[in-house]
């Protein structure tokens, strides 16, 4: 039986690929990644695939001219350690770029950006 263990493990692994993620990436966001929204949101929220380290997780939102349009209060939600949120200044119509840089609690840093549009 013990000799069959490895083939069994391999077969099981083959049969049920299971997606699990060990670096934090955005799962979804509000406003959604790449979306067009109206009216202008007062807050941006990104839910990540893992728990975040608050001390090392940041984001900023900039307009097309590169000026910062968030209120600089980006923080990880106290209840949900996978949620990073920031308040936004009143946004006129236009496209905004969100840049995030986070560290998951397993110490791995990740970063990226996306845009959303206010109509």
């Amino acid at each position: 039986m013990r000799k069959l263990l490895l083939p069994i493990i391999v077969t099981v692994l083959l049969a049920f690929p299971l997606p699990v993620f060990a670096h934090a990436f955005p799962d979804h966001a509000q406003p959604a990644i790449g979306s067009t929204v109206a009216p202008a949101p007062a807050e941006l929220r990104i839910w990540f695939t893992q728990k975040l380290e608050p001390a090392f997780s940041h984001l900023d939102v900039r307009n097309a001219a590169g000026a910062q349009v968030d209120k600089g209060d980006a923080k990880v939600d106290a209840q949900d350690p996978s949620l990073l949120r920031v308040s936004l200044k009143p946004l006129p119509a236009g496209t905004y770029k969100v840049s995030w840089h986070v560290v998951s609690v397993d110490t791995h840093p990740t970063q990226g950006d996306f845009t959303f549009t206010v109509k």
């Binding site: 083939p7 060990a22 996978s82 397993d106």
Partner: protein
């Protein structure tokens, strides 16, 4: 690879594992220990503790550097390590673990004198070691998955500590010229402990592999998977030595009371300890790498096995039966060699060689390096819209508007472009199609589109997939609910979030969706009507999404407006789709279609039909988009 970080981790893990093993050995295996042996154990204990503790400050510094993505000098200057220590899970766990290790230091001087003291020290060391799990990949997961992963991690490190860490004390004891009978008892006890530990290591290792690798392509085709294979090779060598010890040397020691057997056993234990150090070094590297389940695998073989490659059920059955029999033959062969049974060797070899080729012959299909790659983009409007634009720009001249191979340039080509909408295309893996786009066709006619960004190539494939599904549903997607074929509904961000659902995907997971594309003023009467039905629709479990002014979304959903024998029309002024909770478009209605959705009972019937057949007929569309390029 971050060499300083990996080195610091390796030194720390080796020290912590050794401490657990030394005290575990003293507490669980024991044996009569001479003062000289006790002194040696104590020296081993001090060295291990020094390794585990002294490397913590640099380790913390390297982690801080890694987290802040700064230079080492800047990390030191800004005091980031202090922030890591005070404000992060990693820091808190480090503090706890160091306190536990400091608490056991006095026990090192007492080692081998009192079982109870050894037991306390072993517990402190094991808890400190187990807490490592909260510093790694498992500590960042959620819910049940996180709990199972953590349990496996804890089991894995404690078993590794008790087994690998006890090898050096075992070697020291076996070389000590004390009573040979006592040495046999110790070797025997260690062997039993080893079997338990190895079983725990294999089981928990399998769970961890499942979580972090998850598939054979990921194991063979990613840096993480290949590093893990290197670890498994070392582990296999370790297990072979352990097996020789258990089934050969320990019985010899028992039978002959032979000092030479004891010395050989000691030498094997020392070699195993060195191999164990190699395993620890690899583990130290693995913890800093992106887990394989998270990366695009690069398939290294020219072939892959695919059950889907065999269409006929009888051949599928044949492939499975011969495959299982061949595996049983292999098991029989190995156990025949092990137990020295000629009949089992012959029968096993005959089964394995006689049948083993058959499933491979049946199931092997040509593979490409990206066979198992999946789109990093979710199946959603932005990706499909980008893909559509790219298709018009690069592909339509040969492949034609519907991918049927009837573009204006097609006639001049030496070979006909394949029909991209055909079932043969649909059966190919997205990763293989991605490779065709990347490398070009083997016939030299289809050019390479490697100049396009990988994400753009995936966008193109998402568009082709959407178009293929739409074409396949041309005659089934009508105002009456279809069971199959039904196309998947491309996701998009809702212009107005509904409750906590900001996307179609989140909303349709909660309820059936009636998606309405409206143009004012033509649609006003219908919108008013739907508004007045809101309560009735809500009761039927339907969420209403109205899209008035989103040309991007409208253009993609126009793919699903085809009718048989009618050339593609511009998007209608008003159209409605019923989308089920699994994520499929099940019905489409335009004013004038029958059944007439302007009659509430008719619409309710279609909604009920959608709800009833969803769970029985459709597997839910799993959201993709968590694999990351590069």
């Amino acid at each position: 690879m971050d060499v300083p970080l990996v080195a610091a981790r390796a030194v720390h893990f080796a020290g912590a594992i050794s401490l657990t093993g030394v005290f575990g050995f003293a507490a669980l295996i024991g044996g009569r220990t001479s003062p000289r042996l006790r002194a040696r154990f104590a020296r081993l204990g001090w060295i291990s503790a020094a390794m585990a503790l002294l490397v913590v400050p640099p380790w913390l510094l390297f982690v801080a550097q890694n987290m802040s993505a700064d230079t080492l000098a800047a990390t030191i200057a800004s005091g980031t390590a202090r922030t890591v220590l005070i404000d992060t899970q990693f820091g808190h766990v480090v503090v706890l673990r160091v306190v536990l290790l400091l608490a056991l230091l006095p026990c090192i001087a007492w080692i081998g004198k009192r079982r109870s003291v050894d037991g306390i020290a072993a517990t402190l060391a094991a808890v400190s070691l187990a807490a490592v799990a909260w510093q790694g990949h498992a500590g960042a997961d959620f819910g049940w998955a996180g709990a199972i992963h953590l349990t496996a991690d804890v089991t894995h490190v404690i078993a590794a500590g008790l087994w690998l860490g006890a090898l050096l004390p075992l070697a020291l004891l076996l070389r000590d010229p004390s009573d040979i009978a006592d040495r046999y008892v110790v070797a025997r006890r260690f062997s039993s402990l080893g079997v338990i530990c190895v079983a725990a290591l294999l089981a928990s290792g399998a769970v961890n592999t499942w979580y972090l690798v998850g598939s054979l392509p990921a194991l063979l085709g990613t840096p993480y998977g290949q590093t893990l294979l290197a670890k498994l090779a070392l582990v296999a060598a370790l297990l072979m030595l352990a097996a020789i010890n258990r089934w050969h040397l320990v019985p010899q020691l028992a039978a002959m009371r032979d000092d030479r057997a004891a010395r050989r056993l000691a030498r094997h234990a020392a070699i195993e300890a060195v191999l164990g150090l190699g395993v620890i070094a690899i583990v130290a590297a693995l913890g800093t790498m992106v887990p394989a389940a998270h990366e695009q695998p690069w398939w290294p073989l020219p072939y892959r096995l695919s059950l889907a490659a065999v269409a006929a059920p009888s051949l599928r059955l044949q492939a499975m039966v011969t495959g299982i029999l061949a595996l049983l033959g292999l098991a029989l062969l190995i156990s025949g060699i092990w137990w020295r049974r000629l009949w089992a060797v012959v029968a096993g070899a005959a089964l394995f060689l006689g049948l083993g080729w058959r499933p491979i012959e049946l199931l092997a299909v040509a593979a490409t390096p990206t066979s198992y790659a999946v789109s990093p983009e979710p199946f959603a409007v932005p990706s499909i819209a980008d893909g559509s634009a790219l298709y018009q720009q690069h592909c339509v001249s040969c492949h034609g508007p519907d991918g049927e191979g009837d573009g204006p340039l097609a006639a001049k080509l030496p070979v006909m472009p394949p029909n991209l909408a055909s079932p043969q295309m649909a059966s190919r893996r997205p990763g293989d199609l991605f490779w065709s786009l990347t490398a070009g066709g083997s016939d030299g006619v289809m050019p390479s589109f490697a100049a396009l960004d990988p994400v753009q190539r995936w966008d193109l494939l998402d568009f082709l997939q959407a178009q293929r599904e739409a074409l396949a549903a041309t005659s089934t997607l009508i105002a009456g609910v279809t069971v199959a074929p039904a196309p998947r509904a491309p996701d998009f961000a809702l212009p107005v979030p509904q409750g906590d659902a900001g996307t179609l995907q989140a909303l349709r997971a909660q309820s059936t969706v009636l998606l309405v594309f409206a143009t004012l003023p033509q649609s006003q009467a219908r919108l008013d009507q739907l508004q007045s039905w809101r309560a009735a629709l809500g009761k039927a479990g339907v969420a209403l999404v109205t899209i008035e002014d989103a040309p991007g979304i409208r253009a993609v959903y126009a793919l699903y407006e085809r009718r048989p024998q009618v050339p593609p029309q511009p998007p209608a002024a008003h159209v409605e789709f019923l989308i089920d909770r699994a994520g499929y478009i099940r019905a489409r209605w335009r004013p004038g279609d029958t059944p007439d959705w302007t009659q509430l009972p008719a619409l309710q019937r279609e909604i009920a039909a959608t709800t009833q057949t969803t769970t029985t007929t459709f597997t839910p569309v799993i959201p993709t988009g968590h694999v990351h390029e590069g």
